[in-house]
């Protein structure tokens, strides 16, 4: 087995050069949010992915500051979303039980700081905060996260797990800038700490088994994607069946988190973005 050769086949070129297409993250969110009907998200995703792959092939080129700006604005959009969500949750009288206030005040404080940091890093290039609708109406949903605590917790889990996967998916794109890469990693693992905590508040494990989850069916994409959480290939090696004494394939999939592509994240986030 030639590890390097196998690794070659796995390389994430699409992701790397996708940033070079210089598309505006915010517009993608808007477009997907308003045009993709919820039930058709998986198909909508597939179409978007193959389109952007074709575009990427035509436009493959070296990465520059613009692509990094795109990635940072993509991250900023996610952080805006999380910041707004937790702020509204904390402001909703009677929503969060007193025993859980500390946890969400802590997470909220972190998302505030992430927004502040990204705004400073982007300067004039920073996008403005979108208008969010956490009922999910832009995606055809009718949720009540600020009036129903279990829904609030469920969406919080979804946003945190999406955040982890989103940052992970951009590591390669930021690899041309050591500082940015490291900053992104420093946020990424904090999102994972949040995710673990919120998942455990919902009686899920802190880690993700296969692609299992207890979120509404509409959010299956958070654990799916081109490299789903149930992925058992690591570094080009199929590890399935190798860890029978150590949790088996469930343990294997728990031991590795998986990335989402930018498009996959945009489809998830778009459900909550009005404009």
């Amino acid at each position: 087995m030639n590890f390097i050769k196998i690794l070659d086949a796995l390389s994430n070129k699409d992701l790397l050069s996708k940033a070079g297409t210089r598309r505006d993250s915010f517009n993608q969110f808007k477009k997907l949010g308003s045009t993709v009907a919820l039930a058709s998200i998986p198909f909508g995703l597939a179409a978007t992915s193959s389109k952007s792959k074709a575009a990427t092939k035509a436009m493959a080129g070296p990465m520059g500051t613009n692509s990094n700006t795109d990635v940072l604005n993509f991250a900023l959009t996610l952080e805006y979303l999380e910041r707004s969500y937790y702020q509204q949750g904390l402001d909703a009288a009677g929503l969060i039980p007193s025993a859980d206030q500390t946890v969400f005040a802590t997470i909220s404080k972190h998302e505030d700081a992430h927004v502040e940091f990204l705004l400073a890093a982007l300067g004039d290039a920073a996008i403005e905060e979108p208008v969010f609708d956490f009922t999910g109406a832009p995606g055809g949903l009718n949720l009540n996260p600020f009036g129903d605590y279990p829904t609030f917790l469920a969406l919080a889990q979804g946003f945190e797990d999406t955040g982890v996967r989103a940052y992970k998916g951009q590591a390669g794109a930021l690899a041309n800038d050591n500082d940015l890469l490291q900053y992104a990693l420093q946020i990424h693992s904090v999102e994972a700490r949040h995710a673990s905590k919120v998942r455990r508040m919902r009686d899920e494990k802190g880690w993700i088994t296969q692609s299992q989850n207890t979120l509404p069916e509409a959010f299956a994409g958070i654990y799916g994607g081109a490299t789903p959480e149930s992925n058992k290939m690591q570094g080009g090696v199929d590890l399935s069946g190798m860890f029978g004494a150590f949790g088996g394939d469930d343990g294997l999939t728990e031991a590795f988190d998986e990335p989402l592509t930018m498009d996959e994240v945009l489809a998830i986030g778009g459900v909550f973005i009005v404009s």
Partner: protein, 249 residues
Amino acid sequence: MKNELLKTQEVNEGVNKRRQFLKLSGMVVIGSGLMMACSSDDDGMEPQPEIFDLGSGNLGILNYAYALEQLEAAFYTKVLDGAYWAGAAAKEKKILEDVYNHEVIHREFFKTAITSVAPNAIVPPLEFNFSSVDFSSRDSVLGTSKILEDTGVKAYNGAGKLIDVSDAAGKVYLTLAGKIVSVEARHASAIRDLINPGSMDFAGDDILIGLNGTAKAFDKAAEPADVLAEVGATGFVVTPFAANNLPTA
């Protein structure tokens, strides 16, 4: 900064020459075995014992990760053999059993991966000594677990930029580091919450830092030399190994 361990050894008289050499050359050597290896070395005439070096470039980083995963896996193996775990509440037991499984899987994954690219340059199986941990004590076990998981997080966060992504394999290594570090962070969060349930400790101000003046909301990112110095200071590592050729930027 990197010579916590070596400094400790300075106290030990009669091992001066080699010590000074090690210090001056900025070597990072981990493992209490070093002291024993050197203590028969007073006359300075015996050949230096061969100490495994993690290597350079991406191989060095993979070996570094493998060494850390060996440490974690060995620790949780002892945890699951201990009286605290045997008597813990079912949920808590399951969390630690899961973490054990994940760390063993990480260790075996690195072993397989490194062996396939550099069978003659892989870190050997390391020996550990956890006699300073009381495996019948919840506080001792969870306190050690917290340190190891937080260390794993900042180690991977700091190693990311050291991975050379100029070839396809390097990009895969970076992605793999990302796939693992978030699981270490999930562990750290759960363990910290077991220690202090419902508090902010899952992502607490005691471990996070601010960046450019923000509130504390970012994990640390530590250089290998600093991580290894801390690991060395725990006294857990018996088999000595060196890290003199790891990338630093």
